[in-house]
Symmetry: C3
Subunit: 322 residues, 3 copies
């Protein structure tokens, strides 16, 4: 299994063994890391759309490992303004950097970039298509909390039709022993095409009533229902209120239930939950660091020992940090 | 006295002893520093409003000490666009970084951030409320020029009503043996609430005529009178011209008078002053580096020796730099 | 010959010996470099206009050599918004940094900055005036490809009237034994003032017909013809099509012809050329790194050995990198 030089474009490109290798490497980086591991390496951070957590966690990960970053956070700062096509921009920047992360509004843009660049390309979100590093963060958060990716139940809540993060997470979890519940308004059900990749006996229920299944869930993965999906604003207000989580939900749920959310949230998680032991969403956001550290190190060829031996060798002598 | 982990939100939070400790630490950093002191540390530089000198001097200070920076210089590059509240943004970024500096247009925003973040938060300016690191820079500039903060006179000139920098500086100087003069148009007088914190015998005069007191001043701290404060543009032009400094002022002033200004200036300091030995304002801007180096090092726990012993121990062996 | 502390404002400021010294230093940096050469040094990267390749290649060069960067990529992030003049911005930032690169829309802005700053100022493009580091990149690309700057022919193609890069390159090549061809629409001919600096016997032909001279050229330097130059859009389409290069051109040209372009291109180089051995334009863009590494190191005083001895001394022991 080799990650060196590999592009990270879509979650589906990874086998079960590869997913687990990334998660184990991330676990190591969450415990300790060498602050000079990527010294001399340069990340090109190309954000053609605004982003807080993806951009900043990639840049923080690179810098915490001793690497450095060039890039932009807005396409208006680039020559695309002068009519240059994306391919030329990538081909030029490829000559300046060792690894590229790209966020771009067009589906397929990261794949197009990967065809051009010699450096490994990481997809930081291409339109409504893929955002694989978010899914690695989600998987790692479950892995870290539950101890494995087998033997738990998860409910997906809210907008299951348009949310690329839930589509991608469901497709990744098909490899594992997981019971799935899908809870959404009728208008925003999980698409057939996504459900079809899951072994049928893993789909426990599709429902529009959270409280019908609240007591069954070890994890609930909430998503934002966007106002723009509704023609009539009252419809939005009425419907979305049934998919918001607060202390009321906790009285009906398992005591140990863990609440996840890719953030940003708007109203779907009430602030009263934030301090409860059930809230996992900020931990999830913070896991952007070890996961992206792992991915950057893997594609740059600096974490092969972890992959080969499953653990870090004790004589490597990495300094413990954080 | 401990600074490690401390937020820097408002000048009033600092005792006289603490102010002096910061200034002495800044003096050390103006003379020498260890270019690897903050290696492995990450500053989150969150500028929700444009800024040249505050942002760049924080980032330069961090990098000169071997640390690194993530962040943004414009709120439009953030998830706030998607409706995320400031608290969530801070809580997420807190997990990525070791220290946070925030500039935000809303009064109280830095305090709100500090309540959320575990990392120390430094207020880089919250609306019209506070800009404490600017005041540390101002105090340090006087301290460095005069040798102490006692035994001098200072005139505050221009818009004394709305200028947060002069309010904050006056409140800090109340601890010291300083004669104060307030020179402004009637419409832009120093607010009663600020004057009330100063021992009455320290207030030497309030006047709208600079030349009445010009010969008394060791320092004059000029500020910008903003056009927007006046309904009629001619009023602005007529009034503001009486509070502009040029070579004419020097003929009436003490030979040793020092002119300060927080910059940016627009017309209130004529360029003919720039090369005079009386101009202290560029030195003041450049002092952003040692002062912000000191503050970052103090809150990150890397300057305790200076605080404990008042001087750097000679066996620390810091390389002299610059 | 000394480069330490020198501003790089205009190509004309460099003698033939100095041009060659820069190119030889660039050649060294294209082969190996010390990733800690500029450790502790800070570049202020001041881009008042958008730029991809100039900004990113300067920042990448600085970081690959162990230095760091502060700055902005958009004037809207600066105090210029508040009415501050450029001189004050430069004077303040000069106190924060060791070297400054500035791109600004106004002709002469880099010269104005250099008069203010103590740090060396590098012109990253000042309006339609000068962009000397682009010309160094162009010269280096020929030098690297041909082995010297003497004994070849070059055709300048497209908009020769307004293109500052071709003006600057022609003026630099006047020092060398080079045959020049100028190929453009009648409306966009090379200005008399530029031609006058070239020894007359070096000007082989001015023509509007590329195919008249295609077989003579060792290098062709293509430029973009801008739509805005034409009142009638059909005129643009008709005329510009005669100055576009594709596989058809290669059938008429020398087998070894090398195609250069400062990029970004819009339609003037067809993508079918990209993989041919004749395409030199991406190599040219990538040469931004060694050339800007050399220039930064020279003005910061870190490449004097190369200048003094013509070669790197073998006992310097630079680690080979890349």
């Amino acid at each position: 299994m080799g990650f060196t030089g590999r592009d990270i474009l879509a979650l589906e490109d990874f086998s079960k063994a590869e997913l687990l290798a990334v998660l184990k490497t991330s676990l190591l980086f969450s415990q300790m890391y060498d602050p000079q591991l990527l010294q001399g390496k340069l990340l090109a951070s190309l954000f053609f759309e605004p982003s807080t957590r993806t951009r900043l966690s990639f840049e923080a990960s690179m810098k915490k490992l001793g690497g450095n970053v060039i890039g932009f956070s807005d396409w208006k700062d680039t020559s695309i303004q002068k009519g240059e096509d994306l391919q030329d921009t990538i081909k030029v920047i490829d000559g300046y950097s060792d690894v590229i992360v790209i966020r771009h509004p067009d589906n397929g843009s990261a794949h197009a970039a990967a065809q051009i660049a010699k450096a490994p390309v990481i997809n930081g979100g291409d339109g409504s298509n893929q955002h694989p590093t978010q899914t690695f963060v989600d998987l790692f958060t479950i892995f870290q909390s539950h101890g494995s990716l087998d033997g738990f139940s998860i409910g997906f809540l809210g907008d299951l039709k348009y949310g690329r993060t839930v589509h991608s997470l469901v497709k990744a979890l098909k490899h594992f022993d997981v019971d799935m519940y899908f809870i959404s308004p009728q208008e925003l059900k999980m698409p057939r095409g996504v459900l079809d990749v899951v072994p049928p006996h893993r789909i426990k229920k599709e429902t529009n009533d959270l409280y019908e299944v609240a007591g069954e869930l070890d994890f609930v993965y909430a998503t934002r229902i966007q106002k723009e999906r509704f023609l009539v604003e009252e419809d939005y207000a009425k419907i979305s209120s049934g998919y918001q989580l607060g202390m009321g939900f906790l009285t009906k749920a398992k005591k140990s239930v863990k609440i996840m959310h890719p953030l940003p949230r708007v109203g779907e998680l009430q602030h009263e939950l934030d301090e409860s032991t059930n809230a996992l969403y900020f931990q999830q956001a913070h896991n952007g660091i070890p996961v992206r550290m792992a991915l950057l190190s893997l594609v740059l060829g600096y974490a092969q020992d972890v992959l080969d031996h499953g653990v870090v060798k004790s004589d490597v002598g990495l300094p413990i940090h954080h």
